[in-house]
Symmetry: D2
Subunit: 403 residues, 4 copies
């Protein structure tokens, strides 16, 4: 016990905060539904991921792991996993990323777990092996890529949309990123959020979470959207809604979370107030047009470890974490508790795919409702929350048309 | 103009607050997509409904109308509509209800608009006429009944689930009932909500809205649910979640909004605090077990026009509006603006069904996404809110898998 | 019991919701601290006031009562009080107001309770009688008047500033009016608050309460202030703060609560959106410049019982309750629970003044802290809330400078 | 410019976020009101404090500085200040603290700035020098100590209660600590706040801020108080209020902010849930009875850099930052913007004391209202917020008693 490495100790601590995954892992250990299965995983290499790998292995699988974002790789965790016999291809920093994905493909996984679809799309580029069972995907942006593959008629396997599970939307998108994006901004800047005007660009589930937390922190929140349904919802939620060019003049802090690109561009930068802060909470670093920002600036100064100040002549705008996803680059990403839900879903989804009797269709599939419900139940148990159940008479009433 | 009756003036005022329906009505008047169609409607007979009827008639339809809840019928509105040539079968009060539904069926409608499915189920009991185009349904509970019909293999036409449209969920369930249920409680009791413990039973969209508004009014909110997914979401939204028996001891006010029956029963009444208030925000008056409440009471006193006090020996519990849906029975139901959305959806759904070239399948169908989006756009226009649109490059990026 | 009149029954119901005053009344009945004292009261004639009168009489006082606002007088309550031997000079409607104040003065009270200082200032105009004990005042605006008297060197007695007691600020200003002002707007218009821009003019305690509740109801709130401290606090609370002329273009609803006059004037009306709603939550109907509004309008139409629509040519603005205080004129004023606090403070303040051994200075005095604390304790008891107390060691630590 | 040290650069960055102090500093530089005055300061040695020192020196003062809490001392900042000619007696870590206070006293300051009253009480122990001008104090706990001195008849100078200025209460207590205490907890644990039960012990201004932010982060908040007025306010703000022993069973996170000692004791630890987190946001590390915690534990493990896990047999409770003030020990203390307000008040208070013609009384004095108002104005300017001002007629109305 005293001989735990730093990485091992952090894995233990995270595991202690992942009671849902722990219960899932215990069941997998007992039932061995993944016996003999080789899994490839392209995920953030963190203590939480280590606990997922542990659960899969407990269920009988072997696992090869690379990083879905090299900047989030925690080397002590990678070492700890390698020490337990996991094939780990990951090292912190920006180099070697592509090679590591290729290395995992070389281990010939028959089921993949992805966070951005890098592994699965790379496998498609090379050709899926025979006997490939299926894949899970964790992110909105990854699903966009998978669905584009499907639309081109090139998707070769079933993909479970973990990110669209209801528990996942709640924990990961709304409450996980809602909290951690602001946490990242605080750690990078130590800004007082109360009294600030925060512009949230994109009002999907994650944007909703960020807007809610920003308001909860005392900020005045402005929302920009291109979708009329979401725009209307933002307005009904009490936020001001306006085009980004107008919001550019109002904001103290801008947070992009659209999943798209070039959301903030030259025309926006030109209208911003002196000292405006730019942060990206989307998966890729393309939401802020960094090239345009550099082109517009007379100079750039690193004013804090995670803050670059761009000199736009009469004003300065400050870019956080080089436009990379701020909750990972400036904070610690999702709390363990959020990953607990995601990874319980991942593990149960992998089991579900591995145990189907019929081959699955080559399409994006929702996570089965019974898995979602099971995860919710395990989480309520972990929280010590008890709830009622319907009586037979009540259940009958609810399904009767006679009223 | 000076000769407007009270009913007519109230219809005009409501119309002024229904800009979306007005725009829809103008289009219908120009395009006449409902020319010659006979529509049967079973809706609350209010000034807002009168504006829907007007829009349908502008589009070429004839309309027969009865009340979906006789207690909400506003006689001056009924008279004003009748004066314009609408066949109205509705009179305030609890009598004549069933006969009025029968009378509408007697006018042989080929398309129905329902709020609780009373008209459509009655038509099914009698047999749908040839050439029946389809139906719309406005409520969750109505859809339960329609789907029960479908499951029994007896559904004879397409039913558009207006209540499940996204704009409808936002306006009607979350924000409409969220506000008006509490409004009804205030009008009946003039209670101070701040500092009260309010127990919300049922955390569907409507329950979420009520909980949100109750918290916004300064109450401490406790949620009871039977569904683990919803229970978990309530907890993550910051509410305490517990079984109803335990909540019975905590609450100052109880609001049922489950869609089910006997949610509060004898065992709950026995544990409540002296002075506890019971309100129902569900469609039917079966959520509170009124029979058990009467059986448990030594006496009942009408302490305020909409409050009956039940003497349970050492304590009294107070029932609002006899357990009928409190936002209609004690307040004025939905704001015109909410009905504006619902009725724009109803009108566009009717047009959509009436203009399909192929017959529709006999099943519950979602409101087409383009209708939902169109309503959102018209509402944003009405609010004066402008939003951005995607550039071609952005749209391409969002649908490309190469990232 | 079965012979209770409507007024008596409503007094009983209100009494049941005033547990703090009830406890105070029981103590007064036991101790008779007001024996032989003649009290004059100028208050809203409501069931809650009737319970205050009852408590004072239980303590030995005789009471004469007139209305502080004739529009809020509830005739059935006035009758019920008169039937019990109280000298009541009050009748609903706008006539006879001044005469009724004079009539109370004619009964020669030696202690007065005021809500707007009408009685006390009228008594000063006439000259205070010998042996006058003192006065209490319930409103901010009343204290402004009393302090003006004091500044002119004409104040002839001690006045306890009930409105500035801490419990009073919390219940009456922040949470009482915060809720009831919006309640009045809803009852008058059945408006959906979610998604609306609500402009709150004045950010004193009452304005804070209204802004908080408006945000809690889903509105986007804009605050206007003339005081830099309050303006800054509004901004830090997350609201937009701007000059009223700019806010005039933004608002869907305007609520004045400054205590001043002509807050919304011709220039503001000219910039408002079509359909803007104007409401006053200040004590007097001078916050909206009604004369200027009438002068600017081509015509006025009564569109709902409490809504007048002013035709400004290309737009209409709608005035609620003729600019009178909207929570009284359009709703039922404060919940009984709020008046419970106010009137417990009034009663204990009267007792405190009546039982001082030395004459009190002729100045505005704060309600003694022990009364405030006593009321808080009684209210916590009534709510069933238990709290801790300091140990001797903790108390010593808190008062020691050695740390 | 390229030659800035790390400390200098961080001082510059902080200065850029302190626009109010900068404006004050410019005025001091122009007016030299502190010419020749020697100031002693015992404050957190941070970049923000460095900017205060700079403003004082710009105004003509010389300054000697020691640390009010050695754990918050940033050595690079201390070096940068020393390099500019400030007498700095501060070094990060727990040693040498008392000696540094003595060293500042040795420089014979005639005006002191304190954050906890350590410098002023030490000077009193030794005896105040002749010609001592006065002192400012920044914290509630420091004022308790000063007032204890006063009550013993030993206070030798005027002390301006900066902490009780209205702008200070808003920024420092409510919004500064409200945000940074939770920020500290997040940095130490990466916990998900949504869905957690957070117990806030103490509902002063700081406790209110923490409770508000915790609720804004999605937590269910329980408040413990000993003062009935505050307890009632917490309840009316929508929180559950209960004795700490009962709350001990409910909480996932406990935050002490009472200013007192032994708020959480053995009996509380025994009832807590497995994994409960204990944090202190009060000035001194005595709010959690650490001795009792150690005595109750079979062992202690450092599970994260700022988290110690105490083994209580069947459960573990986790102590953050060894019970030291969590916003300083685990985060970066107040945002620069908060210190901007505090230090502008400090500087203007020092100027006010130094420029009085008559000697000040030896008592605790409020910060003059005109300073508070001036700081609010400067801050509104910095935020770009414009507000209205009263017309002459409006001002007259507000001060007239005739109504």
């Amino acid at each position: 016990m005293s001989a735990l490495t730093e990485g091992e100790r952090r894995i233990e601590w995270a595991g202690g905060q992942m009671p849902v995954l722990r219960q899932v892992g215990e069941r997998l250990a007992a039932e061995q539904p993944l016996a003999g299965l080789h899994v490839g995983a392209c995920l953030h290499v963190t203590p939480e991921t280590a606990n997922l790998v542990r659960a899969l292995r407990a269920g009988g699988a072997t696992v090869a792991l690379c990083a879905s974002n090299p900047l989030s790789t925690q080397d002590d965790v990678a070492e700890a996993l390698a020490g337990k016999g996991v094939e780990v291809f990951a090292k912190g920093g920006e180099e070697g990323y592509v090679g590591n994905v290729v290395a995992v493909i070389g281990t010939e996984p028959v089921l993949t777990l992805d966070d951005g679809a890098d592994l699965l799309t790379a496998m498609h580029a090379k050709g899926l092996p025979d006997g490939f069972v299926g894949a899970t995907e964790e992110t909105t942006i990854g699903l966009v890529r998978v669905r584009a593959l499907e639309q081109e008629g090139r998707l070769g396997c079933a993909v479970l949309a973990v990110n669209e599970a209801r528990t996942e939307r709640t924990f990961n998108d709304r409450y996980g990123t809602g909290q951690s994006a602001l946490d990242g901004i605080l750690r990078a800047t130590n800004l007082l959020l109360a009294g600030k005007t925060i512009v949230v660009l994109g009002y999907g589930t994650t944007g909703q979470g960020i807007a809610l937390r920003a308001r909860g922190a005392g900020a005045n929140v402005v929302v920009c959207e291109v979708d009329p349904l979401r725009a209307l919802e933002a307005r009904m939620d009490g936020y001001e809604v306006m085009p980004a060019l107008k919001a550019a003049e109002r904001g103290d802090v801008f947070i992009c979370v659209t999943g798209g690109r070039d959301v903030l561009r030259k025309d926006h930068f030109k209208r911003m107030k002196d000292g405006a802060l730019l942060a990206n909470a989307g998966h890729f670093d393309v939401e802020i047009d960094l090239e345009a920002l550099r082109a517009a600036a007379a100079g750039v100064e690193q004013v804090l470890p995670l803050v670059e100040s761009y000199d736009l002549g009469d004003r300065r705008v400050n870019l956080l974490a080089r436009g990379r996803v701020v909750n990972l680059a400036a904070a610690e990403g999702h709390p363990a508790e959020v990953m607990d839900i995601s990874f319980a879903l991942q593990a149960l989804s992998a089991v579900w795919m591995a145990t189907q009797k019929e081959p699955l269709p080559a399409t994006v599939l929702p996570v089965p409702g019974e898995i979602d419900r099971e995860v919710a139940k395990l989480k309520l148990d972990a929280l010590g929350v008890k709830i009622d159940s319907l009586s037979a008479a009540q259940r009958k009433y609810l399904t009767s048309w006679r009223g």
